[in-house]
């Protein structure tokens, strides 16, 4: 098994999931790269995190009512699922269709939205947009329940075009109004009661309730509309059909995929003004979009097997989002075998780093890439990964230390020790400067097997958690 193959597999696993351990990587390399891509994309998780387990230890996780338990139960799945790809897909869509607790005051509908992403997120884009337009959390979030025949609320119509499909510059203000008209009547059952509960942030008298889509024919504006040059008595599905046919939609969604899975693109508001990093890749993905009938799974299969994805040029060219950083770190440390209270508080670290799951700063979601980094979030990020890796009581860290000790003899060089640890952590690639810094630390403290004690290993691992390379994926 060549080192190159392991490195490539490590790259794939950082992108389809949250990184893999040395053992896992070796197993996957044996499957062959393309096979492994198919396995990841096609297989259903054979062990779904048991709801009973979550209910047993943390009842609020299982039927998420409040603001934080929702993110905590999702994080638990990211850490323990044997198919983290599913969670990664939901995270991808959550970033684009970002919907927030602040306005809903109801965790159940947000939880249901994430479930919807994992169910429809690898299907075709048309179905996903229809599900999204019927999603109760989205209907409240962008006020479609307040849009009526004769009193149109443009919020959903606008964001559907601007943020969820085509991007600015590809439609007119008139198209927004017409699209909004077509979605009148798309609301939730018992709307007045549900929205009043949200506004009052009330749990009385029945707790936070699940919500359901309802189509109200009598509140739907059935008159003729002209949308993107087409004329007809359009309803919401027709609008989505027209949207999905657009080249702009293919490019928009391809660029999102490229940014999330290949390398960071600038944030969406800059797209009309800046060329993609790799325009050819966007073209290729757009072709797959049309050739496969808007099929997301096939676009991703193509992406992961493509040369532009496998190229070393894009390895580590993403800044981990806070959720990726926290989930990836906790997959290494394996400290939360049960969904307990501490795990819930670990979840809140993602918000300290600027990403509170299911509570985005605005309908635009989060700006990614280097925009995750400022002198404040760098402090949070470095402190989290360095503290977690440095805790030798965590079973994952314990095992790494034991493996390293059994691989190393007194004759081995400092380089060999560093390589060994980085392999254990999932084949992390580091710069010469970082390597020299680690070497200086090791040479000053560790000169024999005996000095590979917990105290020194903890400090070394804290330094590794603090490396700039640990912040990248």
């Amino acid at each position: 098994m060549s080192n190159k193959d392991v490195m490539l597999m490590a790259h794939l696993m950082r992108r389809v999931g949250f990184g893999s351990s040395k053992d896992e990587l070796e197993k996957y390399v044996k499957n062959g790269y393309d096979n492994q891509v198919d396995l990841i994309i096609d297989s259903e998780p054979n062990y779904e995190i048991s709801k009973h387990l979550i209910n047993r230890y943390q009842p609020d996780y299982g039927s998420p009512m409040g603001n934080t338990s929702n993110g905590a139960s999702w994080l638990y799945k990211m850490i323990w699922s044997d198919s983290p790809f599913k969670e990664k897909i939901s995270l991808f869509w959550h970033g684009i269709f970002a919907t927030g607790y602040a306005k809903l005051a109801n965790g159940i509908v947000l939880h249901d939205q994430i479930k919807m992403f994992s169910k429809f997120g690898l299907g075709n884009y048309r179905d996903l947009l229809i599900q999204l337009s019927k999603d109760p959390a989205m209907i409240i979030w962008l006020d479609n329940c307040e849009s009526h025949k004769g009193a149109v609320n443009e919020n959903y119509g606008r964001e559907l075009l601007e943020l969820f499909s085509m991007g600015t510059g590809n439609y007119t203000e008139k198209d927004i109004k017409e699209a909004s008209r077509a979605f009148t009547g798309w609301t939730i059952a018992n709307k007045d009661y549900m929205t009043t509960k949200s506004q009052r942030d009330s749990v009385w008298p029945y707790g936070r309730l699940a919500m359901h889509f309802e189509y109200k024919e009598d509140d739907h504006d059935g008159d003729e509309k002209i949308f993107l040059g087409e004329k007809g008595f359009f309803n919401g599905e027709d609008i989505i059909d027209i949207i999905c046919k657009q080249k702009a939609t293919a490019k928009f969604i391809s660029r999102h995929m490229y940014s999330f899975f290949v390398e960071d693109e600038p944030p969406v508001p800059e797209w009309p003004y800046k060329e993609p990093n790799n325009p050819q890749a966007i073209e290729l993905l757009s072709e797959v979009y049309f050739d496969t009938g808007y099929n997301i799974k096939e676009m991703l299969r193509f992406l992961f097997k493509s040369e532009f994805f496998k190229s070393e040029k894009v390895w580590n060219k993403r800044v981990k989002s806070p959720i990726e950083l926290v989930a990836g770190t906790l997959r290494i440390t394996k400290e939360f075998e049960r969904p307990d209270k501490q795990q819930s508080s670990a979840n809140s670290h993602t918000s300290f780093m600027g990403q509170h799951a299911m509570n985005p700063p605005s309908v635009e979601g989060w700006h990614w890439g280097t925009e995750w980094l400022d002198s404040g979030t760098v402090v949070e990020r470095v402190n989290f990964s360095s503290s977690k890796l440095g805790n030798v009581n965590n079973s994952g860290i314990r095992k790494i230390i034991d493996n390293v000790k059994s691989n190393i003899s007194n004759q081995d060089s400092t380089d060999f020790l560093i390589e060994n640890i980085l392999e254990e952590l999932g084949s992390i690639i580091i710069s010469k400067t970082t390597k020299d810094t680690l070497k200086d630390f090791i040479d000053s403290k560790i000169n024999s097997l005996e000095s590979l004690n917990d105290e020194n290993m903890s400090e070394l691992l804290q330094l590794i958690g603090a490396m700039p390379e640990f912040q990248r994926a």
Partner: protein
């Protein structure tokens, strides 16, 4: 007169588009009541200013400062060709560039003017998560603080000499070296300024003492932290915080009231705190939002609009109305919105030239007409 170097600017962003019409309320205008059948405020509720306009009922603490002539209300603020997308409009306010996409923010450029060789990493301090674009400028470090009390790097490494070593390894890994790509560039810059900023700011927290009890909500906590840094005299010139969301498409009466109550009370406490520390004339506060909202309500809230309202508060402010209250007559509306009558960059220019003592032209790209809401001789 105090030395210019003591002066600072606090910018509070009202995210989501504050509804200007329910903030400074034209409460006896018939068109207001007609267009706001669902969410109007009545004469009985509002805090009257001049018999035609009144503050939102929850803005008591701001009204109190207004009565002391310390609040400038800038009505009809905006920019040509309104954009009703949150992101784009916020971007325009942040970059002070309404036609093209600018690479940096107006405050970032200001910091570069104040401290071109960036000797002080806390020239600007952002409170909250994520650096707003207004503060972004290449090579300009800004400290970004969630909570002043817990600010610092690798706190698990204890022991003075171990910490010293760890931080020196850290600075080597993040310091300038060969072959950096954009990501490492960003990590490096932010890592190093984080390290330096942490040192300075942890001091500010431990020195603070005050008799003012702030409420426990995010904007109050931010203003309290800002006060701590002001009193520590570490050379900070610009403070930034955000409050929201003002995106009141629905349930506006309820949500808008809570937002203004929290903010107004926090500003009242903040001003008292400044007074207690003899700093009330050294600090000027700007409140802005990316746009106002539609004149007509949608049955439970208001949709994105254009012309809005901004506030400048402080001991060195000439209180009063600036700009004009836009007419609500149909013929004077712009696509159903209040029409802007003064460019937000006039307010920026006034703050830069007359308050900060910094030439606004290179920062804003041209000369904007200025208001006189800053007292002469301050």
């Amino acid at each position: 007169m105090k030395d210019k170097k003591d002066k600072s600017l606090v910018v509070i962003q009202l995210s989501g588009g504050n509804d200007a019409m329910n903030t400074i309320v034209p409460y006896n205008n018939g068109i207001y009541h007609d267009s706001r059948s669902a969410i109007h405020l009545t004469e009985k509720e509002i805090l009257d200013i001049d018999g035609s306009l009144g503050f939102h009922p929850e803005m008591g603490a701001i009204k109190n400062l207004w009565d002391q002539n310390k609040v400038a209300v800038i009505n009809g603020i905006g920019y040509p060709v309104p954009n009703r997308s949150h992101f784009r409009s916020m971007d325009i306010w942040h970059t002070a560039e309404s036609e093209s996409i600018a690479p940096d923010g107006w405050l970032g450029r200001t910091i570069r003017e104040i401290d071109p060789s960036h000797n002080n990493v806390v020239t600007a301090v952002n409170f909250g998560r994520g650096l707003p674009r207004a503060l972004v400028c290449k090579d300009v470090p800004v400290a970004s603080v969630g909570d002043l009390e817990t600010y610092g790097l690798m706190p698990d490494i204890k022991g003075k000499s171990q910490r010293h070593d760890a931080l020196s390894y850290f600075s080597r890994m993040y310091g300038p070296n060969q072959g950096r790509d954009a990501i490492l560039e960003a990590l490096g810059e932010n890592g190093v300024s984080a390290m330096n900023g942490a040192d300075i700011l942890s001091g500010a927290n431990s020195k603070y003492s005050s008799s003012i009890e702030y409420a426990d909500n995010p904007i109050s906590n931010n203003l309290k932290d800002i006060a701590k840094v002001i009193f520590a005299d570490v050379g900070t010139k610009i403070y930034y915080a955000q409050h929201g969301s003002f995106d009141t498409h629905a349930g506006e009466l309820f949500n808008h009231a809570k937002l203004w109550k929290d903010l107004s009370d926090a500003l009242g406490d903040f001003y008292e705190d400044l007074k207690e520390h003899d700093k009330e004339d050294d600090v000027t506060v700007l409140l802005f939002s990316e746009f106002g909202r539609r004149i007509e309500d949608n049955g439970s809230g208001t949709d994105h609009g254009s012309g809005g309202v901004a506030f400048v508060l402080g001991g060195s402010v000439n209180g009063g109305f600036y700009g004009e209250q836009p007419s609500l007559e149909l013929s004077e509306q712009i696509e159903g919105d209040m029409k802007y009558n003064n460019d937000f960059r006039s307010t920026y220019a006034t703050l830069l030239d007359n308050w900060m003592g910094i030439d606004s032209v290179p920062i804003l790209g041209k000369n904007y007409e200025k208001f006189n809401f800053i007292k002469k001789g301050t």
